[in-house]
Structure formats: C-alpha cells, structure tokens
C-alpha cells in the first residue's frame, strides 16, 4: 500500500484529471499501461497449492493488511451459529454399541479419566474395566474409544487428559470382539 501511494503522488496530475471525452483514446491507454505495470508488480505471486485455505492466506497477505476482512466470504451469522454450541462447554456425543440411543456429555465437568469412566458406567449401567497402557481395558466386554480431530479412532486413556479433552470429537463404547481391535 505504501508503494502505491508514492506512485499516485508522482502521477497526480494525470491521475485525477477527469475527462469527459470517450474513454479508450490513445492517450488514456498509454497512461493506463504505465500505471498498471507498476501496480501489477505489487500483486503477490501464485500461492502454493498446498494452501490450507484461509490459514496460510492470512500469512501471505500484502504488508498493509495483517488480516483479510470478509475472506473467505462466510457469513458471520454462520460462524456464530456454530460457535454458540462451542461456547458453553465441550459437548461430545456418546454412543454404545448395540444401544438404540445416544447420550451427550460435557467433558469439562470431569477432572480426569477416572471420573469420566465412572460417569459412563453409571450412564449406561455397565462396567468398563481397568485400563492398562499395553493391553487396553481388561475385565469387561466394553472398551471406550473416541474419534479425534484427525478422524482417527483412539482408545480412551492413551493420551494425557488435557489433550484428550481438546481433541475428542465423539465417544463410542465398543462392545465384544470389535473392541479388541483398537
């Protein structure tokens, strides 16, 4: 932006002269081309196709703007309606294999895995068993698993609690032989 202001000052006379004659006369076009050559140098070159959408766009923005307002064009209304659910707690859906219904819990109210598992046991009236790093859950037919931000299904307890709370998208209590596979 700073560059362009300098250009404008140099060409101020011609730039602001308002012609009422038909545009497209030779004189005009010549000025336009000299103007435009300088203008087009400023434009950022092709961004790499490894762009992850809006995130890298912000980093490569022209120096005058730290943030691009209104791009991509997503209505704040839509952003708000999604944030509304996120604002008050970390709600995740919990499903139990074989049960026809689901529950929803707020991960924030639990202090750690022990409390979470207890709550699940109470909710679904079952026993989950004991967790060990190597062998998963022993002592019952059930294994609590969760889907993380990357879409992978993990065993509940594999990562530290804080990391779990922020990366867990939903919970699934697996039953029987399937449970062994996670």
């Amino acid at each position: 932006m700073e560059n362009s202001v300098a250009y404008d000052k140099d060409l101020n006379m011609k730039d602001t002269e308002l012609r009422l004659g038909l545009p497209g006369t030779e004189k005009n076009e010549k000025e336009e081309t000299t103007l435009s050559v300088k203008v087009s140098n400023k434009r950022p070159m092709i961004e790499s196709s490894k762009d992850n959408g809006s995130k890298t766009s912000d980093e490569e923005a022209p120096p005058s703007k730290a943030k691009i307002v209104g791009w991509p064009p997503i209505r704040s209304y839509r952003k708000n309606s999604l944030q509304e659910a996120e604002a008050s707690g970390i709600y995740v859906k919990v499903s139990l294999d074989g049960a026809p219904y689901l529950r929803k819990i707020d991960l924030r109210i639990y202090g750690g895995y022990a409390q979470l598992l207890k709550a699940l046991e109470n909710m679904f009236k079952l026993t989950i068993g004991d967790y060990s790093e190597k062998e998963g859950y022993k002592g019952s037919d059930y294994e609590p698993t969760y889907e993380d931000k990357d879409g992978d299904w993990m065993l509940v307890g594999d990562v530290p609690w804080d990391m779990f709370v922020t990366s867990c998208k939903r919970l699934r209590i697996m039953k029987g032989s399937e449970a062994r596979g996670v």
Binding site: P23, L102, K104
Partner: protein, 595 residues
Amino acid sequence: MKNRNATKPRNYPLSELQSHNPDHVLEIVLETVLQFLTSRRDRNAASLVCKSWWRTDALTRSELFISNCYAISPRRVVSRFSRILSVTIKGKPRLADFDMLPADWGAHFSQWLTAFSTAYPWLEKVHLKRMSVTDDDLSLLGDSFAAFKELVLVSCEGFGTPGLAAVATKCRLLRVLDLEESLVDINVSDYSGIVDWISCFPEGETHLESLVFDSVFSPINLEALEKLVARSPSLKRLRVNGHVKIFHLYRLMHIAPHLTDLGTGSFDVPEDTEDDELVFESPFAASKSLVCLSGFRDILPEYLPDIYPVCGNLTFLDFQYADIIDTDQIKSVVSRCHKLQTLWVRDAIFDEGLQVVAQTCKDLRELRVYHLHASDGVEAPVSEVGLEAISRGCRKLQYIMFFCQRMTNAAVVALSRNCPNLVVFRLCIIGRYMPDALTQPPMDEGVGAIVMNCKKLTRLDVSGFLTDRAFSYIGKYGKLIRTLSVNFAGDTDLGLKNVLQGCTNLQKLEIRDGPFGDGALCCGLQHFYNMRFLWMSSCKVTRQACQAIAQTLPHLVLEVINTAQDPVDDVELLYMYRSLDKPRDDAPKLVTVLH
C-alpha cells in the same frame, strides 16, 4: 376506484373535457388492463409511455420494490404511489454480510415505516433484506396495519424477541412470519431478558401458513409452540431453531402432518434426556407432503436414517449446517433424493459425495457447496473432480455456487458445455489468486467459457488468478450479466474498462481487492446511472477521483470509507449508487458521503 375523481386529468384541451366519455373509457380500459401487469419491470415500462399511463400505474400499482433504500426518499415514494399493499426494500450491499461495513452503517427501516404507516393503512406485506429493524419498528408495524399478513426479514438485524412478541400480538391476520438469516438476539449472553413471543399469538385458530425462526438464538417455549402449531390448520412451512430437539420436533410433526417445508432445528437430543425418552418413532415415514427439508444444526448422525423415507419426495434439501456428519452419511441421504432440485451442502460432502449427487439428482437445478471452516488436515475436500462430475450428471443445472481450494480451467469449461442453461455461476477459490491447479495458467479460459457458452448467464462471481483476458471475455460475451462480483482478481485497469463498456446490462458490480484505479473507474461514467450500485474495496481508487465524479454527475452518490489514521489518498471502500433525492444524513462517522 374512489381515487379516480380526485385525480381527473387537468391538462386536457377544453373540447375534450366537455365530453367525458372517451377519457373515462380510456381510463377504465387502462386501469383494467394494467391490473394484469404485475411484473414491476412491465409496470415501469408502461409508466414511461405517457403521463396518463404514468398516473394510472401510480394509482393502481400494489407492489412496491425498492432495490436500494437510499436511492429514493420515502416521502417521494408515498406521494407517487397511493395504493400499495406490498413493499419490498433492500438495504445494505451484499458484502455487509461479511463484516465489510461498519456496524451502524444505516439502512434503517424506521423512516420508511413512518411514511407507510400514514400513507398505506391497508399494507399487507413487508419484505426487507439487509435492513436495520428495531423492536419499536415492529411494534409500530403491528399498530399501523390492520390487515397485515406477511412479514419477511432476510439478513436483518436490530430487533429481538420483544419485537417478535409485538408482531405476534398485534397482527391478528398474520399468515407469514419468516426470519431468514436474521440476527435475532445475537448479543444476548443470558436469556433472562427474553420475551416468550410464541405465547403472544392470539388464542383460537391462527391464519399462519409459514413460520420460520431457525435463526432466532434464544430458547422457545416448547409447550406454547406445540399449542400454536395445533391451532394453525393452514401451516405448511415450519422452520424451528436449534433449541427444538428431536423429541419435540417429532411431536410437532405429529400435530402438523401436512407440512410441506420443515426446518428440523437441532436434530439432536438434550443432554439430560432420560433413557426411556430416547427411542422415538420417526414421523417421517408417514409424511407424504414434505418436499423441503432444512435445519440439522447439531445433528446426531444416528438419527439420520429417520429421514430416509422422505428423501424420495424432496425437491429442496439444505444440509449446510449439518456439521458432525461425514461424507458417507451425506451420501446415504443424497443417494435417495431422486427428485431433488435444490441442494445446499457443505464441502464435507467431498468429491465422492458430489459424484453420488451427479448419479442420483438428475433434476438438479441449483447446487451450493458451502465452506464453513477449514477441515483439519483435509486439503481439498471438493475440487475440479466433483465439479466435473456434477456437470456430467446434472444437465439441468441453472445455479451453482462452489467453494473450493482448487479448480481447473478444464472443469469449468466442461461445466459450461454440459450445463448451458446456467444462469448463476459463483466460484469461490478460497486461497487467493489461485491458478489452474493442474496446469498453472490463470483461470481465464474457464471464465471465458462460462460467459461464452452459458448464454442465459445473469450473475457471475469470480475469484482465482485472472488476468485482463478474463475480463475482456466477460465484457465481450456477458451481455446479459446483471450482477458481477470480482474477488482478488484482475491485472490492469483495462479489465474493468472492458467490463464497464461491454456488459450493457450490468446493474450490480462488486470488486474487492483488485488493481483497478481511477482510470478504469472513469470509463464507466456513462454507465453508472444505469446501475444499481458499484462497490470497490481495497482497489486503487483515490479520493480525488471520487470527488470529481461526484461533482460531475449529479444524482450519483459516492460513499467513501477510510479507516486509516492519517489522511490518505487511497479510498478503502467506495460504494456508489444513484439517488433521486438528496444524500442521506444517517451515515456513521467513518462514511463520507460525496455528492
């Protein structure tokens, strides 16, 4: 009829005045014939024929359409048209939706309402888009119009539940209350101040045919809603907000089995649901009338199969808010929608989902693929592959809006050839200045093919790496284009020049972050009066040029915004439109109105 004597023509020659019959006959014929002219464009044309046609149109026109609320003053409108029954007003320019205008920019409904409340006591319908409406306005509306039937507020803001309560209480003949994408109560942090507006509808049978409140953020009195629906036998369209969970939705559907249009609210279960309340019998299986489905704000995927029975009847499906479901689940739905004509969906559908759409929805006329937030770890959920598939499968396509991270010219060219009936083409390539993803040249040829092959095109929205060539194509072939949006594209002033000179039907031009400057702007001098507005933000336009244009062309208003601390020559935002009256006086400090 009662106004005819009051407006007897006064400037007829004396001899003709003495024999009233021919004039009366002419007037009667004119009024009778003009009654059949309902399209506003036809009416506008008729009113230009001669004074007496102008007068007759003014007396008989019942629908008022104001495309820019600042183009004319309310006083002038009510003095011309005396028998208006329905009003449509559009306020802020479209890009205001993306936070590109200051919050208190304007477009206030109040001054219009004041004029209408005295001039049109029999007003029945008010449709507003992007206007600022207050609770007091809604209360005055209820007080002023005894026959009021229809209130549609699209993308409006400034009001809350008190205003809705006023409408519900006072408008006893209300048939339609639609709050589409309007920010209601958006700033309310706790719900203690909320008014239970649903309970304000009068007792006894209502005339309600359509009730849309999916964008109202506050909770709803569910019991009152059920009672309201139960006593609204004409209700055909019901779109509830996210506070209505599946249990209540299904009860509503049982109460109103003849709904044709349903917005499902959250499609979720409440946190504290008891076990025995969790198994619900789906009323979708019994529904024969449902053809439009939307909502799914918080959708619980396990309940998705409940909607399968109606999919085969659906002509409209809005799935853009269904956040948690994955591609397979979306596919399971669209693969059943053989009659679908309109589909709004998120890019979580992936290219493979679009392929299913292409195979199934042979009748598709409109497709919108939205992007809500960057899907973690997924580079390009939808791309040229999906677009090409759609073009091959959905030959009747008329409207396409496509958010993507990569695109190729080849795919766009294919779309232009396979779907020549396209009327609207909106391509948003999210990374800015993105070229053809496979071969790297600019996206010029794709855009060129669209304007060349789609001869009915009236709306074009472009992004990506585009040079002057693209714009020369647009100017050369885009003769029917009325709306053009240019995002982060363009090379030199020549581009804009070609557009301004070539697109003879251009009404609305939006340019953001382009290289165009004063030279290009001045090329449009003889076209600006024919346009509804011009928006140029973050371009190379200077204040001096704007001033000069404002002084040269009367009736053209240039609103200029600059938020920079030091005075700079460059203008951050130029919003220009013609106005038949003096410029507005309600602009906020940031906006300088030049005229």
